[in-house]
């Protein structure tokens, strides 16, 4: 009996140690483990923080910047959403577009995050070979009522380890959804027109509080 107790204690310590060790060494982490760790971390923080739930814009954006952004490849995301127009753009335009797109996604994601309350995330088994460099991590958000929301990630392995470059909510890929918008803005006012439209949108979002529909409880 004593032996088993010791074993359990040891295992717990090892587990705790692993959890700590995993945080900086994300390069050799499996993609689904990475996504799971980030989302758990973010959700736990969001659930525990009253300021975030109240819609404190600065705090939410802070959380997104520190916990999520290091694992997202915005440049690739933007390049994919811009499609063929990406290659025609100057490096300056590419940089500006990436920055503005990134800002928009941070605002949107922060808005979504401030609505997290009773949801739990459930991950599905990863279907990928060990040497795959592009995988899809699939999960679902279980809501207190109603159908679960599918939430999938496309993750690619690069020099800095795994990075997310596309997200699927409710069956729609983010990049694919923005692609049409980007193309039609570009057809109206060129690449600069798109950058301008995004910049204006972000300005508007920056001056508006998050979570305007916060439930009054």
């Amino acid at each position: 009996m004593k032996f088993i107790k010791q074993l359990i204690a040891l295992a717990t310590v090892a587990l705790a140690f692993n959890a700590h060790a995993a945080a900086p060494a994300s390069a050799n982490e499996a993609p689904d483990v990475l996504v799971k760790r980030i989302s758990q971390d973010v959700i736990d923080t969001a659930k525990a923080d009253k300021a975030i739930q109240a819609g404190d814009t600065k705090k939410v954006i802070d959380l997104v910047e520190t916990k999520i952004l290091p694992y997202v490849d915005f440049q690739r995301m933007t390049a994919l959403a811009a499609g063929r127009f990406w290659r025609d753009a100057t490096p300056d335009q590419q940089k500006a577009l990436t920055e503005q797109f990134r800002a928009l996604l941070v605002f949107t994601y922060s808005g979504a995050l401030s609505q997290v309350k009773d949801q739990t995330i459930e991950f599905k088994p990863l279907r990928a070979a060990a040497d795959d460099t592009e995988v899809e991590v699939r999960s679902q958000v279980n809501m207190p009522r109603g159908e679960p929301i599918p939430l999938n990630y496309r993750v690619a392995k690069g020099p800095q380890g795994w990075k997310i470059y596309d997200i699927n909510v409710l069956g729609a890929w983010l990049v694919e959804t923005y692609k049409g918008t980007f193309a039609s803005e570009i057809s109206k006012g060129g690449m600069d027109g798109l950058i301008k439209a995004l910049t204006e949108k972000n300005k508007k979002l920056a001056s508006k509080p998050l979570n305007t529909n916060a439930p009054k409880k």
Binding site: R84, R145, E185
Partner: protein, 268 residues
């Protein structure tokens, strides 16, 4: 007289709608009726802004949350029966049995569906309609269609709508005034559940019409092919616009997939 005039009026209306649709071909191949759809979209938006959304906001803020849960469970449970029928039509026997069990369990132990005890018992809720069934049977979605009051749809899903309406149990509720009150409550409750999502959508979209359209079409496709075997799920594939690009679509796709040279350095 009135009775004979009615079919004519309907035919004339249908003809008028068809002509309107044909008259406004847009540039997007999946949305040839963009002009009509945008008009409907702004009509729906106006109705929403001035009628539905304010009512739903009050409902959400005033009604105790257990009442809201009860309302949405009650109508959700009625919907489960039609979902089960569609599961069987699609050949998903297992999921169909699960949805049937949900309906049986929630209708009885869950007190006419007010409590969703089946979800807690490990039977997750699904949602299948006849448009999805047609999709599984191989019917293409056809162009995007924005329906008045009902919102985004496709030609296929619109054709399936009469059956979905007939499959709605609440439709047969007597007396009629209870049915009408219930239908109103259901609409308000569903809108209330979407309040947060719709405010998010406003933040995320440059052009809300396009954003909803492109998201909706993908979502429908994924509901019909949940495992990603649908034609829409190819990642990072350049579409028809590739024709005017200087490089062939093949190399472009490859380039994007491997990350453009400019995309290599870390964005952080």
């Amino acid at each position: 007289m009135i009775r004979t005039a009615k079919p004519f009026r309907q035919a004339a209306l249908a003809l008028g709608v068809t002509m309107m649709l044909a008259g406004c071909a847009g540039p997007n191949p999946r949305d040839p009726y963009e002009g009509f759809n945008r008009a409907m979209f702004s009509f729906n938006d106006t109705v929403d802004t001035y009628a539905l959304k304010p009512v739903a906001t009050v409902y959400k803020n005033v009604t105790p949350s257990f009442v809201q849960t009860g309302v949405s469970n009650f109508f959700g449970n009625l919907g489960d029966a039609w979902t089960a029928v569609n599961q069987f039509l699609q050949g998903n026997g297992e999921a169909g049995m699960s949805d049937l069990s949900r309906f049986a369990l929630n209708s009885t132990l869950g007190i006419v569906g007010l409590f969703d005890i089946a979800s807690e018992a490990g039977l997750p809720k699904h949602k299948e309609d006849f448009g999805q069934t047609l999709g599984v049977w191989g019917v293409q979605s056809g162009p995007y269609l924005m329906l008045p009051l009902l919102g985004p749809s496709t030609v296929r899903d619109t054709a399936a709508l009469p059956l979905d309406i007939a499959g709605d149990i609440w439709r047969y509720k007597e007396p009629v005034y209870i049915r009408n009150i219930g239908t109103g409550l259901r609409v308000v409750d569903q809108r209330a559940a979407l309040l947060d999502a719709s405010s998010l959508l406003e933040d995320a979209a440059l052009d809300r019409y396009e954003f909803i359209r492109d998201g909706f079409l993908q979502r429908r496709e994924s509901q019909i092919h949940p495992d990603g075997d649908g034609p829409m799920r190819k990642p990072a594939k350049d579409d028809d616009m590739e024709t005017s690009a200087p490089v062939s679509s093949e190399s472009a796709t490859k380039e994007l997939n491997s990350g453009t040279p400019a995309a290599k350095p870390d964005s952080q």
